[in-house]
Symmetry: C2
Amino acid sequence: MTLTEIAQKANSAALILAHLSTDKKNQALNEMARILEENCESILSANKKDLEFAENAEIAKPLIARLALNEDKIRGMAQGIRSVAALPDPVGVKQKSMELDENLTLHRVSCPIGVIGAIFESRPDAVPQISSLCLKSGNAVILKGGREAQNSNKVIVNLLTDAIKKVPGIPEAAVQMIETRSEVNDMLKEEKYINLVVPRGSNDFVRYIQENTKIPVLGHSEGICHNYIDREADLEKALRIALDSKLQYPAACNAMENLVVHQDIASQIIPQLVTKFGEKGVLLMGCEKSREIDPGLAVASEKEWDEEYNDLKLSIKTVENLDEAVSFINEHGSGHTDTIITENSESAEKFMNGVNSASVMCNASTRFADGFRYGLGAEIGISTNKTHARGPVGLEGLVIYKYRVYGNGQIVGDYSGENARSFTHKPL
Amino acid sequence: MTLTEIAQKANSAALILAHLSTDKKNQALNEMARILEENCESILSANKKDLEFAENAEIAKPLIARLALNEDKIRGMAQGIRSVAALPDPVGVKQKSMELDENLTLHRVSCPIGVIGAIFESRPDAVPQISSLCLKSGNAVILKGGREAQNSNKVIVNLLTDAIKKVPGIPEAAVQMIETRSEVNDMLKEEKYINLVVPRGSNDFVRYIQENTKIPVLGHSEGICHNYIDREADLEKALRIALDSKLQYPAACNAMENLVVHQDIASQIIPQLVTKFGEKGVLLMGCEKSREIDPGLAVASEKEWDEEYNDLKLSIKTVENLDEAVSFINEHGSGHTDTIITENSESAEKFMNGVNSASVMCNASTRFADGFRYGLGAEIGISTNKTHARGPVGLEGLVIYKYRVYGNGQIVGDYSGENARSFTHKPL
C-alpha cells in the first residue's frame, strides 16, 4: 500500500471510530490488554531479535535498556491499556448547549480529531500506549516506531489489530503501522487525511517533523526549564527544589537547565548550590555576576542559556530583580515549565503571570510537569504549542468538537429584514 | 521597521497584555469606540480617497460597496467595539482545579495566545472588529488590510492606537498595521513571534496563506455545504430550507452548493425544486439519476461536486440511501456545515454522527452557522480546522491556557522510589 492508501484507510476508519460506543471501545481495549499478556513469549522472542541487532549495531546502552522487554514490562503495557479503558470517554461530552430560539437548539459536543500520525523512537511500550489513547478517543492512528524496535513493534501491532478484529464493528485500520523512514516523509505530506502528528523523540527529530509538514504537530522540541530563586525565597526550599528539578531525572524534558538567582541572595545561595551540586557531579557555569561570587564557576557563554543539556550541567544567572528574571526566562526558555521559589505571594503571582510558559509554578519542582502527576490519567505528550493543547496533554488533546443544531424547519430569512424574529440565545 | 522588529514589538506587547485587568482592557475599548465616533470626518475623507482610487482602478461594484463608509457604518464600528467590551473576559478563567497533594494545587487557567497576524480584504470595518477582539482577549495583533482600503485603514488604526495610548499601561504595539504584500510574506515567516494567523478573504487567498506559513492558521478556504433531503423529510420544510440555504445570501461560505436527495422522494421533490429554484434564476445541474427525473437539468460533471459557486448555481445528487449521502458529503464537502431534512430522529442522529463537519444540522438552514446566530457575541472567523477551534469562532478561539502549580517546597523525589508519597488528585 502507498502511504496515501494507508492514510485513506485510516480516514475511513476514523469516520466509524468517531461514533463507537464507550463500551465497544473499552471491550477492544480490554481485549488488547489480554492478548498482550497471553502472548508474552512471541513478544519477547521478537524483542530478542531487536536486542541482538542493537548490540551488533553498537547502539548506546541507555537506548538498549529502553528497548529491552521482559514479562513485567509486558504486564505493565497491559495494565496501561486497562487504565486507559478505565478513563472517562472524552468523546460525546456536551460542552455547551444553547436555545437559539423556540425549537432551535445548538450543542457543542466533543468528537475525535480524526487521524493521528504518531512517530516515536525506540521504546516498544509506546505502541500500546499511543494506540490505546487513540482508540479511546475515537481516532485512527498510523504508528511509526524506531528501526531498533521494529520486530517488537510489528508483533505488538499485529496482536493489537488481532484484538480489534475480535470486536465486531471496529475497523481494523484503527491501528496501522509503517516501517520505513521514507514512509514518514510521505506521511508528513498527507495533510488531506492526517489531522495531527504526535512526534516523540530527540529535539532534532521533533524539530525535523515540525519543519517538514503542514499537518499540525503536537509536542515540543526543547525543554529549557528554569528555577528562579527570589530575594524572598526560603533558601532551604530553594536548594531542595533546585536539586530535584535538575537531578531527579536529568534527561527529562522538564528538568532544569538554567538557574536564575536574585542578586540580593546570590552571595548566600550560590556557595551552597556549588557545594550541593558539586557533590552530585554537576558541572556549574555562571554569568559574570555569579562568577564574582564564586570564581570557581565555569564561564557561561551566551549560547549556554539556550541549550538543553539533558545532562549533569547547569548554568547560573544572577539578576537584579524579578522583572529581569521574567524577561530572561521568556527570552531563553522554551515555554515548557518554570518555577519561582519565594515566600512572597505577590512576587509569585507576578512571575506566574509574566512567564509565558505552559506550566508556571511556585515553590515546587519543575519535574511535576507531567500528565500522570497532573492527574490526567494518561499522557500523549507535553506540548509547547500556543494553540489547541498546551503543557502535559491527556485524552482531551485528542478531541475537538462539532456543533449540532436541531431545528424544525427554521430558515435564516425569518431572522433578517423587517419583522425579523430575534434569537433567544438562552443557555440550556 | 523590519517585519521581525514589528513582530518582536508585538511579542513584547503581548507579554504585558496577557495580564491586564478586564477594566483596563474595557477602558481602552470604550476609548476606541469614542475616538472613532469623534473622528468620523477624517475617516470619511480617507475613505473618499480609497473610493476614488477604486473607481479609477475599475474595481468591481460589490467590492466598492463593501469599501464605502458613511457615518452610520462608523457608528456601527463603534457599537461593535462596545459590544466586545461588554462580553465576558475570556482570560483568567479557571478551567480546572485539582489538589495534587496537601498544599500542592494545580489550576488550568485561560490565557491569551500571544501575537495574532490578521490578514483581510477590502472592508475597513474589519480593522476595529479584529483589533477589539484581540485586545479583549489580551493578544497583540498585526493587521494587514486590502490595498483598496489602505487610506481608511491607516486612519482607523492611528485612531485606535491613539485611544490605546490614553490608557496608561497598555502597550502601543497592541495594535500594529503593515501595508505591503511583501510584508505579508515576511510576516508568514515569523513563526517565532507570531502564534496564529487569521486570514479572511477569497478561497485562493486563504489557501495561499495556509500553504505558505508554519504558523497555525485559523479559518477556512472553501465552504462547500450540503442539504440532504431524506426519504422521511417533510417536503415543505425541505423546500423552505433548501431555498434559504442557497439563496438567503449565496456568496456566504455557509450557503449550500450541493443538494443531495434520497431516491425514494426524488421524483416528488426534484420537480418542485426545479420550479422554485428556477423562479429565482438558479442554474440547476444534476447527476444521471436526477436527470432521469428531470432531463431539463444541466449535466453535473464530476468536478461540480467539489466546487464552491458562491453564486446562483446548484448541483443535485440523487442517492440510494442515507449512508451514500453521508459518504458523498464527507467526500465532497469541505467540513463546514451540512444539514439533513428528515422527520426521523434516528436518521438525523446517524447523519449528524457520520458527517465529519464543523456544524451538522437537522431541519435547519446551513445559513445558521455563524458566530452571531450561534450566540458567541462576536466572531473572529469560521474554522474548518480539526484542532484548536472549529466552526464559528468567538473570543474563546483567541485564548489557550496555562497550568499554574502552587506548592510549598514539594519535590518529585518524594513521590518516587520506596516510601513514595501518593498524589491525592482531588478535583477542587
